[in-house]
Structures are given as structure tokens and as C-alpha cells.
Amino acid sequence: MLRPYPNEPGSFVANQFDVIVLGGGPAGYVCAIRCAQLGLTTAVVEQDKLGGVCVNIGCIPTKALLHSAYIAGLLKESKDFGVDASGVKTDYGIAMKRSRRVSDQNSKGVEFLMKKHKITVVKGTGVLQPGRKVKVGSDVHEAKKAVVIATGSRVKGIPQIGLEINKTTVISSDEALVMERVPESLAIIGAGAVGMEFADIFNAFGVKVTVIEALPRILPLEDAESSDTLNKSYRKRGIEVIAGAKVTKANVGKDKVTLDVETAGEKKQVAAAAVLMAAGRAVNTENIGLKECGIQLTDRGFIKVDKNLQTSTPGYYAIGDVAGPPMLAHKGSREGVIVAEIVAGQKPHPIKYDNVPSVTYCHPEVASIGLTEDQCKEKKLDYVAGKFPFSANGRARGTGETDGFVKILRDKKYGEILGAHIVGAHASEMIHELAVARENEYTVEEVDLAIHAHPTMSEAIGEAALDSLGRVLNI
């Protein structure tokens, strides 16, 4: 029903909702579902496919490709298991198409969820206006209770050194996820989760991969031992890793890129058929009307929010990547739930930002929660590290996945789990035992008291807990 909006002659309020969510990624669409569950009429404005980067060009398709890589790796070693799979061929194009189907299924799934919860999906680019309004095309939608900004982030290049994304020789994950054929060689800039996952994928598909990281080690936010273990595993597979390296100059040719790399005073040249930019992301805060609504940004360019995730302008909230780090889908989703509950007048439990698990799905997987050992040292905490390697775990030996370990950092005085780090097969699944433990403030004793089934990889968690108490059994 159209009705004239009194303050703005000539402009019409196309529709009124309790809540309008700008962005249909994992933060935005989850927020919308929770709003609907709480009886709020809700709209989601999305310019592309529902599910955002995560579902379409991020988490989900990469996991599909990583599984292709896993199968390729498995078959390479399978002779020893009594399965001769010699002559195995890989085809990235087929793997890519499968990953697209998986993404499409997930995106359709989100569409279905929107219908199920009677959430209006407005297709188009939304621009915020004062008075809790969102303009999409020529329509102005009005939110009676709240506008939630969940516009996410995008890949960024480094134009300063000549590495502007050109989609052919200098690419981002966006292109890597839809290419039909792999390049002969690939230099990956950035050894965070994205860089390491693509290194794993492309290595499995026969590409000569070089990873270049500016910080002194790969996965710089993870525990140093996790980085070391992964580094060894990558080198074993022939992936070149150059850490503590600065790319000083890039020479971008038609079918070749040459990078001048400086590491520990040494100068080096890395040539590759293509460069994949995986060094950081830029938040989508431009041209969405933030300034017009008086919404402020932080020094680092994120939207400034209070502890209720409300921006500097009342009635406007921000969630997900735009609201600040860690830029992880699961953190955004939880923020979406929290904002929905706040808008509905509830008092949700705040997020513990130090209890957001971090996972890299390469092989072996790396997962962590809480503090690293270095952070414990920096904070001068009195801690004990309990560690158990998968090489001493029966299940891991059986499957031949003995790389990695579980490490638990225990506060000496109270037994609090300060941090936990897992490198190994299924680390991404196993970390949640420790996430639950930390969320509920279990100490290492409670982790040990929970009986772990035998034989499982998870037994290593119980053993690491015991090790932190000086009582490890199976080593």
C-alpha cells in the first residue's frame, strides 16, 4: 500500500516494516530470521544473491573445493591403504562447477528460509536515509523499530605496489572460485585463512604455489606452534612459503607477474602465471548513506557501535564485518541474533568476543579459541601448556592423519582454559568441545571428567587437559 510520506513531498513510502536489514549475508539473514521469530515484520535488502560472500564466494564454495583437494590428496596416498588409485586425474573446472552447485543450493536454502519466516526480500542496492528509512531504487522503505546494517566486506588489492586486481593475472578469491582452468603457477599474497586454504586447493590441483606473508609466520593470528606445524606440512607437499617478506614491486604482465620480494634483508624474485590477493578485506561502508544519517566510523574504518551494536545514530545498528573484527561469518550471525533480541526488547547475553572460534580448513585443519601462548606470555599470565600429539592417538594412526596436536593453555591458579589450539584432521569440528567449555567456564578438570569415546581424535583433547595437570596417560 502506498502512502505519501509527509516530510518528503514526492517521495513515497513503499512499505513499512519493524526492521529493515541491509545485506543478506550470514549476519543479515540470520538477524532477519531471529527478528521474524520474535514477531517483528522484517525486510532484507540484498543487491546480489542471498547468503552473501559466505554462501556464494567465500566459506561454502571453498569448503567444497577443499574437499576435492582432500580427495586428491587421499588418493595419492591410498596405495598404502590397499587401494591403488594410480592414474588419478584432477580437473579444477569440474570441482569448481560442483562448488557452484553447492553455493547455489545454500543460497536457495536462504531464500526458502526467508519465505518460511515471511521475510520480505527487497532486491537492489539500499541506501540509508535519516528517520530509519532505506531507499532502494525509487522506493523508500521505512523501519518502525530499527535499521540493521550488515553490508559485509570485499577483497582488496594493494594498488600501492602495483597489485590492483585485474581479474586475469592479479585475481582475488572471487575469480579463483569461478575459473575453469588452473594457472601453471600461482603466487598467493597473504597467509591468513584465505591464502592458506587456496594454497591447499591449488597445490592439490597441480599448481606450483608460492605463499608470501608479510608477518613473520603463516597464519599469524594463530599460535606459533600451529603455524610451525602447518608450515612443515605445506613444505612437505611442495608449497613454497616465504614469511616475513615484503613485496616491494610488482611487474604485472599479460600472462605473467614478477614480484620483487624482500625477506630478512635478502632480495628475491617470485614469478608466477597469476597472483592471488588474500591480504585483508575492505568493509562495504561506501555509498550506503552512512554520513547522511550521521553514522560514524572508527579509526580503522569500521562502523562505530556501542555494546548493544547500535551505531552513533539511534535506531541504526551494525552487525558482521562492518561492525568490526573478527571478520567471521559465525561472529556476524551471532551479532544478528543479539540485535534482533535487543530490538524486540529482550536482554540477550552479550557476545564474548574472546570466545569466537577461529578455523582454517586447510589440511591439516587449524582451529583455535582464546589466547595463544605468546599472548599468555605478553599478558604475563601464569599458565601451563598441556599438549597431546595426534601421533600418539589411536584413531589418528588408523586413518593415517597423525599430523598435528591439541594444546590447552591452563591458568595455573584456577584451571581456567585460557586458550586452546588444535592442528589436525577434523580440528574444525573438535574445537567446539573447548568452545562449550570456555563459554560455560569449565576448567580443565571438567574437560577431563567428560568421558571421551575411544578411539576418537577427541580423546586428544582430554589428554591435553590432563597434560596441563601433569597427569597425561597415553604418552
Binding site: 584456577y414 584451571g415 581456567e416 560455560n440 567456564e441 576448567t443 578438570e445
Partner: protein
Amino acid sequence: MEALSPTMEEGRLVKWTKHEGDAVKSGDTLAEVETDKAVMELVARADGQLLKVMVPEGTTVPVGNIVAWIGKPGEKVDGAGSQESGAGAPKPAVAAAAPAAKAPAPAPAPAPVPVAAVSDATRVKASPLAKRIAKEAGVDLKLVQGSGPGGRVIKRDVEGAPAPSPAAPVAAPAPRPTPDARRTGVPYEDVPLTQIRKTIAKRLAASIGPIPHFFLTTEIDMERAAEAREALNKQLGEAGGKISFNDIIIKAVALALVQHRACNAWFQEDHIRYWNEVHIGMAVAIEDGLITPVIRNADLKNLREIGAESRELAGRARTRRLKPEEYTGATFSVSNLGMFDIDQFTAVINPPEAGIVAIGSIVPKPVPEGGGDRLVVRRRLRVTMSCDHRVIDGATGAAFLRTLKQMLENPLAMLL
């Protein structure tokens, strides 16, 4: 029995102020209870009639036990004789620590409500970590409001909870046996420890044992301070509010601490908390013990304010009417035994504070003057500072004491 102070484990019911059959409203004083710190009021947590008093005056009751029942007039108290709440008995009432949101509805309670609340048998919802921290820190979980799911007490809540409040420095009259217990043929008299005596014993043993004390003594010429005091009191005249030496000393200590933050600190196991605010604990001898009321922001108060406040606090300390927040949170303490003709003594540090000064009597003494060729009589004061060596080193303490001496010897320096 409600826990009326953070460290209270039991309370002695001193006097019932309401009696069986009296109408009571939520908030009315039911009884006076002697806790480990003070005599405090036990208030009703429900409306109705005081149906049954379960505990006679003079009885010591553990926290959590039922002391009385409130209900509708004429209503029978179910299971009145037992501490167990049987199947037909009402639920325990709301504790002091219970969230306000859960306070009983204004309507008269349909069933008798025991005036208890927190029982040791009551299950406290708390995370394993919070339980461990509380145990080590001596925090009573029943008194902590939980902010976790379903009101569960979590780490954050325990960390913010008040630690057991410090009692006071030693150097005060010991608990006395009955004064007229002269030679009656009985060789000795066993006096049960009162609540406050138990706390003093616990707290001070925890001080002199683990804290590496050392002591610094200086003698201060109080001639000019005495002149200043006389002049000020003359000016105040009949307006009242005379200024005592103790007030001047507290002010000087507070101002000296501002200049020596290193002495205005708490030792906190893994860190030292240097206070910017100056809160002076003032040891007050009371019947059967001592307590340290706190003069907050003493550095910012003038002598009249300090005088009025210390007299008021000491008065209430002696009648044991201090509120917990009035005897906790000092950053440094002063213990004065001058009135007992003590020349010099050492005081025991009141943890987590890192220092205390012990003030002796002001006595006229012959002092060499003019390069030592003649003796004059001057009023002199001996001050001994006890320092926690984990926080304050010898030179640090000495520097503070020198500033204190300069301020008292030249009171105008306090204006600087």
C-alpha cells in the same frame, strides 16, 4: 538468617524488634543481629504477620537458617519446628543478594514465607571457574548476583565482588575478660570468640604471616602543629567542631601519600594497584575489638570535614553501626594509640594495603637546640610506619615518612 556482610557466616540474634503477631511490611526491621563486623538490622522480605519466631534472642544462627515465619494472619506454619522445608512448606524467601526483579509481589504472601533466604544448602548456580575463584578469594557466591544465563554466577561477577573486608591493625586493646572476674578461685575464664574477634584473628594472621613487614620510625616535632591547632580551635571558638591532632595527622598522611603514590597501593598477588584516590583507614578501638572506618578522599577534605567525619565514624564504630562500605576500601591506614600514653609501637598492615603508620603520644621532651649548646623542651611525636616490602622498599617508605615529618613540622607545607 540473611548474610548481612560479605564475610558473615553466622549471626547472633541480639534482639527482636517485632514480635509474634505483629504486622510486618517488607523492609521493616525485624531484629538486630550481630555479625562479624557490626550490629545490623535484619529486615522483612515479605508483607504479612510475624507468625512465628524460631530463634530466641542471644542465639547464634548460621546464615541460611530460618529465624522466623511471615504469613497471613491465622495461617498455620507448616513444619514450623524443622529447618527443612517439607513438601507443603513454602519456598525460601528472597535473599539480600537475589535480583531485584525477583522480589516478591506486593500482594500479601499466600503462604508463610520464611525469613531466611540463603541457605548453605541452597544450590548456587555458578560456573566451575567462578566457584574456584570465589573459593580462593573467600567470596560468598550466595551474595553475588549472577549475570550469566539464568542468573548463573560467572567469572566476571566474582571478580567484581567485594573481597572479604579487612578488619584492622593490631595495636589495640585485646578482648577483655569480664572486668570483675578477680580471684574467685577459678584459675581462668574461657571467653568464646565473638564474630569480630574471629575475623580479627583470621585477618591478622593472614597479615603478619605472609606479608614481609619492615618498620621505619621517625620522631616529629609537633610544636608548630600544636600552635596551629590551638590557633585554629580558637578561631572556631564556640562554633564547635574542634580539630584534634589525629585530624591533622590524617590530613598530613593523606597529602604525603599524594606525593608518594608508591605507598598508596594494594598488593594484589599478580599486580600492584597504585591508587590515585586516597582513602585513609582509621583504626578505632571498640569494645571487644577494633575496626577501621575509612575517611574517603581525605586528601581533598579540610580539617573540619575530617574532624567531623572521623568523630562521626568513630562514634558509630563504637556502637557497631557502621555499614560495610564504611569500613572497607582504605588505601592506607593510621593507628593512633597516643591517648593510651604509648610512646611508640608498630601496627600490623591491613591487607591488601601496603602500609600503616602507628602514632604514639605527643610528649614534651628536652631537645638540643642552636647547634646543641642548649636544651629546650618541645612537644615530640614518634611515628612508626609498617611497610609491605613487596610494594614499598626502604627508601620509598623513608621518603614518604620524611614528607610526613616536614608537613607536621611545618603545617603551612600542607598548603603547598
